[in-house]
Structures are given as structure tokens and as C-alpha cells.
């Protein structure tokens, strides 16, 4: 794995550059709201997550 990727807490994401994320519930923490964005199993390395999951 690349040196830079080793510095990414988690590199999974479902939204593309031009795409929006699904509104479905997920375990992913929010970049923007009340959830803790600290290192975790969530794919929060990659774009703003939903602030209010359905």
C-alpha cells in the first residue's frame, strides 16, 4: 500500500466526485454533524457524510 494511503484513516466511500451518497442508514460517522470523525471502521475519509441519516 502506498505511503500516503497509510495516512488515510479509512478510504472507503460510496459517493463519487459527481455523485451523492445514498440516504440509507450506515455505520459511517458524519464529517459534519454530531458523530465523532476519529479513526474508525467507517469510510469517512472520503467526503461529507450524511448529517441526518434516515
Amino acid at each position: 500500500m502506498s505511503e500516503m494511503l497509510k495516512r488515510v484513516a479509512a478510504f472507503g466511500a460510496e459517493n463519487s466526485a459527481c455523485g451523492t451518497k445514498d440516504p440509507a442508514p450506515s455505520a459511517c460517522g458524519s464529517a459534519c454533524g454530531t458523530k465523532d470523525p476519529a479513526p474508525s471502521a467507517c469510510g469517512s475519509a472520503c467526503g461529507a457524510s450524511d448529517p441526518d441519516k434516515k
Binding site: 500500500m1 502506498s2 505511503e3 500516503m4 494511503l5 495516512r7 488515510v8 484513516a9 479509512a10 478510504f11 472507503g12 466511500a13 460510496e14 459517493n15 463519487s16 466526485a17 459527481c18 455523485g19 451523492t20 451518497k21 445514498d22 440516504p23 440509507a24 464529517a31 459534519c32 454533524g33 465523532d36 470523525p37 476519529a38 479513526p39 471502521a41 467507517c42 469510510g43 469517512s44 475519509a45 472520503c46 467526503g47 461529507a48 450524511d50 448529517p51 441526518d52 441519516k53 434516515k54
Partner: protein, 354 residues
Amino acid sequence: MKPYFAFQWHITDNCYQRCKHCYIFAEDNCKQLSEMPWEKMKQVVESCEDMCSKLSRTPYFYITGGDPILHRDFWKLAKLLKEKDIAWAILGNPFHLNDEVCQRLYNYGCRKYQLSLDGMEKTHDFFRKQGSFGATLKAIDHIKNSGMYCAVMSTVSSANVGDFPQLIDLVAKKNVDVFAFGRYCPTSGQKSEEYHIEPLAYRDFLDMCYKKFQYHKSRGCKTTFQYKDHLWTLYLYEQGLFKMPENDDKNMIYDGCHCGIGHMTILPTGDVYACRRMESKVGNVFETPMYELFVGEDLEEYRQFDKFEKCGKCELRGYCRGCPAVTFGYTGNMYAPDPQCWKEFNMKTGEKLC
């Protein structure tokens, strides 16, 4: 489930619209329309599956174009993805959609159809095509009737920023599942001036949007208003709504732009980009497997977190970094300061950022 990895896959350039801000048809791009042949499409799916398998990720295809539904083998691709039980969505046009087509898409496993609205009718149709606005509103109903998620995405610039209060009301009224916007990526110096929004004006714009979102949510609106632009993180940080954990590692990347991290883009020619919103070709999937491209040196150039000139001094580096594609559009350097970032000082150290 393993985390998703997103592939934004442009299967065709063919499109009934020639949107003024489209990067595909901008300047001298796309003199000749391309469409990926069926045999090559199967190869792409296999290469993406192989990459995800090696990275312990779940593939998620965002099928787009052009208008992907115009691809002669679109439905064969839909069937293939259904057979492989691969998650997929469409970023497409409103034309050709009716209840029957949307139901067929849903039955093939398409979980989300993303449309664009770039303002109210006059503005939207100016950008896209006469009648596009009306067709989009009808398409929202068809998509929702089918069971697919309906997402609406906007591109904001100085040309349409004034439409957003009404636009937010509209998507809430239409009960779309997801609404988000991204900033316009200039494709020339002239356009960067023509469509520019000043940093503080952009902050005010986010403030207006945030208050609109809260208003609609307080009235029971079920739309998920996504904070897609990474400058939302800065706005929410200043509002006290985003807090960095005290024990975070300042060397790590927790959030922000996922270019080269969580998604890749494939064009009809097989060219692979780090991000479609900027010139960022890293290879071609028909010459090099996707996994090799992902771990290769070319893509690593888009993950040089220490090169961010302004963000490198900012306490939010691990969470924001603005939009490198917008920055590239203005400056030709994705690591230059984001042209809409209004932050001046590191609030932890007091250091001036630029």
C-alpha cells in the same frame, strides 16, 4: 459489509444536452463522441471487481455519461450488474424516463437515480436545454414511484447562486431523497472569472443553505440535505457544529476530498481519472488493471497531503482541504489555496494561512 469503493463510469459521451458548464464538452474537449463497446464494458467490471477484492472493498458503480441510458448496450450492463449483485446508481438525464423505464431500472438493482437541477426554470433551461427543467420535475416523480432513491445535484456558481433559496424549497416540496451541490469547476481562465464567487459570499451562501435545510427539517421534510462540498466542514466548524476529536493524529487524513482514495473515474475510452472534475488521467484500464492504477505512482500524485499550500497550515487539513478540482480549474494546481476558502488563520496556533 466491506466499505464501498466508488467507480464513476462514463459509458458514453452521447447526450441530448450540451450544458454550459459540462466538463465533457468544454473548450475543445470531446470533438468526437466515444462509447465503450460491450466487450470492453465487461472487462471494466471484472477489473474493478478484482481491484476491490484485493483492497477488501465493495464496488459501487455510478453509471453516467453523457446520458448512460443512450448507450446501445445499457440494459445489458444493467443485467450484468444485477447478476453480479453489484450496487449501482445512475447520474443521468430526465429524458426517456417514465414509470415503466424506472421500474425496469429498479428491478435491475439500480438503487438511485441522480438528476441535476441548476436553478429554477429560466436558469436551469439556460444552462441545459429548453424544457429540461419541466422534464426533470416529472422524472423525479417517476423515479420515486419506482422505489429508487431520487437524488438532485446542483452545480453552484455566481450565475445561479440567487436561485438556491427557491431551489431548496422546491426539492423539499418534491420530497427528493437527497439534495446536494458542488461548486462549478472552471475549464478556462475566462470562466473562472465569469462564474466566480468570493470566499465570504460563499460562506454566506452556505449559511443561507444551512438555515433553509434546518427550516425544512423542522417541518418534517424527509430530504437528506448532504454536506457534499468539503467547505461545509469549515462552515460547521466555525458554527461549533463540527468538532475535531482531541486525540486525533495531525498526520492522518480522516475526511475531506477522497480523490485517489475512495473513488476513481473511467471514461468511455477506458482512460482512468483520479477525478473527472479536473484533468487527472492516471492511465487506461485496457492497458493497466484498475488495481495497478490504484496503487501506481500516477495516482499517488493526487494524494500528496503535505503539498496543500494553505490547508497544510490549517487545523482542518485532515478533514476538509476544500475542493482540489475547483482549485485546479482556477490555478492549474490542485494543491493551491481553494478559491472559495475564507479561512485566514489556524485557530489553534494563530498562524496566518496564506
